[in-house]
Amino acid sequence: MPKRPAFYHFLGCIIPHRYPSIEKATRLVFEDLDMDLLDMEGATCCPAPGVFGSFERITWATIAARNLTIAEETGHPITTGCNGCFASLWDANYELKHDEDLREAVNAGLKEIDREFKGTIEVTHYVDALYNTAGLEKMRKRVVRPMKGVRMALHPGCHFMRPKLLKKKEDSERPHILKDISLTTGGEYVPYKDELMCCGAGGAVRTADIKIALDFTKQKFESIQAAGGADMIVTPCPFCELQLDLGQVEIEKHFGVKFEFDVLHISELLALAFGHDPDEFGLDTHLQYMQRKTEPHWEQLGIKR
């Protein structure tokens, strides 16, 4: 029997500390697809690329490199379900492999904690593991609860695919990977004008001025409505998910406009399609529902309760 693919599971901050349903759903989905997730003991914040990268590049790269060295110990690739963590770890890995000066500065810092960046592993996103390692065919076969008639608006976010010349994954003006994966569930794709626009949270903007960040998000929601609405929004990033999910509560407060979209991480969508009960991973623990004391629109999501 061929060996099961194994990944070091980089959790980051938002998934394990605010949206644990994504962590649980991911564990279910990877198991269903015969892929192993290994704990990365003592991993820290990636650290947030737009925040730490904006403050001090060497510190950002050194803390990221420390996380990379945990995986370098045994050589399995890393996988992460967050566009921000992916940006930090992938970019740092790339820059450290190509920039001698940076590598020297970073290794001087790592020396203090008896570590060294060697550049021996690859960094992937869950989406890469799903698309390249498991493959669309395997996912399609695993679907036992087809999302028939469920209209899915997608929010790919930014750092999975940009900058396109460096990441070399897909054309960031016409991305297809998240769409291809989402369509394996049998749902319907809803195109809308601002699909490729940023959610507004990144680059330390959410921390600097939340109202400006929410203004991006509101534009996305209005764009989805202008396209005839959707039954769910699907994203591959927990920070985007937080901004789109909890952001609805905050938009109501700051702008007096109420939206009620259900927002799912791609792992959560797949867990549902693979037949898992939403309680098995706690879909109803999204902060929007906790704060509003509401529940997902089960029927719209194609779930019988």
């Binding site: 959790l11 001090e56 930014c158 940023c198």
Partner: protein
């Protein structure tokens, strides 16, 4: 936006010739390839709703107007979405230029208090968004996970490592609370 108010010409008393070199060293090596086409600003979701003008900041930087660049509050409205970087015909990588200018701004003491707090959280807990309340542990248990994940929330030695790194790069000094009268 036009205004009736008269705009004085830009007089460069003391252009900072070093500024462009600093930006090139700090992560924006291609800044001098900019020919001011405006593709970046035209693509920019931050510029569409605020006074943040990425092309303008690059132009000011090229003119050596360091103070205007690093003290502008709108410098922090870029979400680093990289749309401009993917579209710039000159490979300037405007996002990286903005991040480099932010690095210089922080070095010179321009850091928002909220950002400083996030940085401090990473040094205290290992995470920008920490597991700082029991309710977050409960949330994890509710979805069927162990209350504390196997990251720095469980391994305090990881936090000690981050602190050592920050000491080495002097990042700890950069983000520590400054005396009140300096504000």
């Amino acid at each position: 936006m036009t205004s009736a108010e008269e705009k004085p010409p830009i007089v460069l008393d003391e252009p900072d010739r070093e500024f462009v070199e600093m930006i090139k060293r700090t992560g924006g090596p291609n800044i001098q390839s900019c020919y001011q086409c405006g593709t970046c600003s035209g693509s920019c979701p931050a510029g569409a709703r605020t006074n943040f003008l990425v092309r303008g900041i690059i132009r000011k930087a090229l003119l050596g107007m360091k103070q205007e660049c690093i003290s502008a509050p709108e410098l922090w409205y870029c979400t680093t979405c990289y749309t401009c970087t993917d579209r710039c015909p000159q490979d300037v990588k405007p996002t990286d230029v903005i991040k480099a200018i932010r690095n210089i701004a922080v070095q010179e003491g321009y850091m928002l208090q909220n950002h400083q707090k996030v940085a401090q959280k990473v040094l205290e807990t290992g995470h920008a968004v920490p597991l700082d309340k029991e309710s977050w542990q409960k949330l994890r248990e509710k979805v069927g996970l162990e209350p504390i994940p196997p990251n720095a929330s469980r391994f305090p030695e990881a936090i000690a490592d981050v602190v050592k790194i920050a000491k080495k790069t002097h990042f700890d000094k950069l983000v520590e609370d400054k005396d009140e009268d300096e504000e």
